[in-house]
């Protein structure tokens, strides 16, 4: 084997690159901050996306996975579209979300719970269920905000915009077989 091919060093950078399609562009980051400057949630982030990339480079895995950055992300893709180095930043944020959820590293955020409730509905019915999502997730996480939601929910309901029962797709077993296979493959 040729000597010039870099050996795997087992760094966090490598881990993130491997887990993100197009992630190899990460090494080209200029630290220009156009992601952090563009982010609509930038002001609420403990670390800007740019800072996270610097931290990934510095192998600061624990701090990255505990950061609130990912949970403030709204997937608007401004960072990705504006990045002068063609780094798929939003997708990298998704990778970090997955790692953080898988290892339960997140702190002070309900986003993972929302995601879980949402996907549970998809797994069970094949469709999302807004009412169930609103009630299930809010009852679980924030009963007070549920009260505040009251009038809005009622309005939605009277205008026929909210169903009380979820729709179920016909071939739910087929979808579940697909999902189970995906979970099985990604567990490897």
């Amino acid at each position: 084997m040729a000597a010039h091919i870099a050996e795997k060093k087992g760094t966090f950078l490598e881990e993130v690159i491997e887990a993100t399609p197009g992630g190899e562009r990460l090494v080209h980051c200029l630290q220009c901050g156009s992601c952090g400057g563009s982010c609509p949630s930038g002001a609420d982030m403990q670390y800007t996306p740019r800072t996270l990339i610097a931290m990934i480079n510095a192998n600061d895995r624990d701090a990255v996975l505990a950061a609130n950055t990912m949970w403030a992300c709204v997937s608007c893709y401004f960072c990705t579209s504006r990045c002068p180095q063609d780094i798929p930043i939003t997708d990298i944020i998704y990778t970090l979300k997955r790692l953080s959820i898988a290892e339960k590293r997140y702190r002070d955020t309900d986003a993972p719970a929302l995601a879980k409730t949402f996907t549970d509905f998809v797994d069970r019915y094949g469709r999302s269920f807004e009412f169930g999502l609103a009630t299930g997730y809010h009852l679980l996480k924030r009963p007070i905000s549920m009260m505040k939601m009251g009038p809005m929910g009622l309005q939605m309901f009277t205008r026929g915009r909210m169903a009380l029962r979820p729709t179920k797709i016909r071939q739910i077993e087929q979808l579940q077989a697909i999902i189970n296979k995906a979970k099985e493959l990604s567990a490897k």
Binding site: G160, L185, S186
Partner: protein, 294 residues
Amino acid sequence: MKYAYYPGCSLERNAAAYDHSVREVSDLLGIKLQEIDDWNCCGATEYFSQNELAACAVIARNLALVEPQTDQIVAPCAACYLNLAKTDKLMVDHPEFGKEVNQCLAAGGLKYEPGRVTVRHMLDVIVDDIGETAVRDKVVRPLAGLRVAPYYGCQVVRPIDNNDNPEYPMKMDHLLNWLGAEVVDYPVKAHCCGGHLTQISEPQAFELIRRLLQNAQDYNADMIICMCPMCQLNLDGYQSRVNGFFGTEFKLPIMYFTQMLGIAFGIDPQKLGFGKELVTAMPVLEAKLGGLLV
């Protein structure tokens, strides 16, 4: 022109107005929509946060269900559009990953050949495929005098190239122009509505919503025209709560572009889902277009 139609979960109920107006307008413009049989949820942003392969497999099931004689699928929801397009692109660009997705599909007896189906948004179909002349020809009730702010949101214009500028898209501007409306050129037309943050962090989400409503109001818009059910829900459904939170008095109706096409085409507003919006559009339509909708 024939397309496979993927309405997405929101259009079943919350955004029924969008679904109804899409179907009405399509009929009139000769766009044949064939709803995908037994489609499933695209997983929104939530599935990608947990398991990329499962997220793509769930989405790819819909692509696999597109009938072989159809090679285009149209989605009116921005999140659905992006998820479908992104999954197809991932499978094309990363063949190994594509194989894994197909392994999952195989568990359900399905198969999808990456790149087979082109994913389109409803706006692109009307603007690019139908075009100016055909749209203008159908206008019987021009929207003259109505100041509309086209609101694109994020996920149709970014990151997948839909042949518009991701920073300053113009397609809906053109379309509303064809309808005779006065189009407001305001800077935040492709900024974020807050997405699912309304469920996670209200103060943060409300601030994003406020920015949009404020800017549209600063530019004297009569209403905001959107192209995604999530945007509509956040700007319309949460508008009164945003007002309560900031002490503002926004009263901006948030309508779907297909609803506007429908009234310009003279379709019965009832059929277009008018009245389902929480901030009612009736007064402004009455004032600007005069008695049309009574």
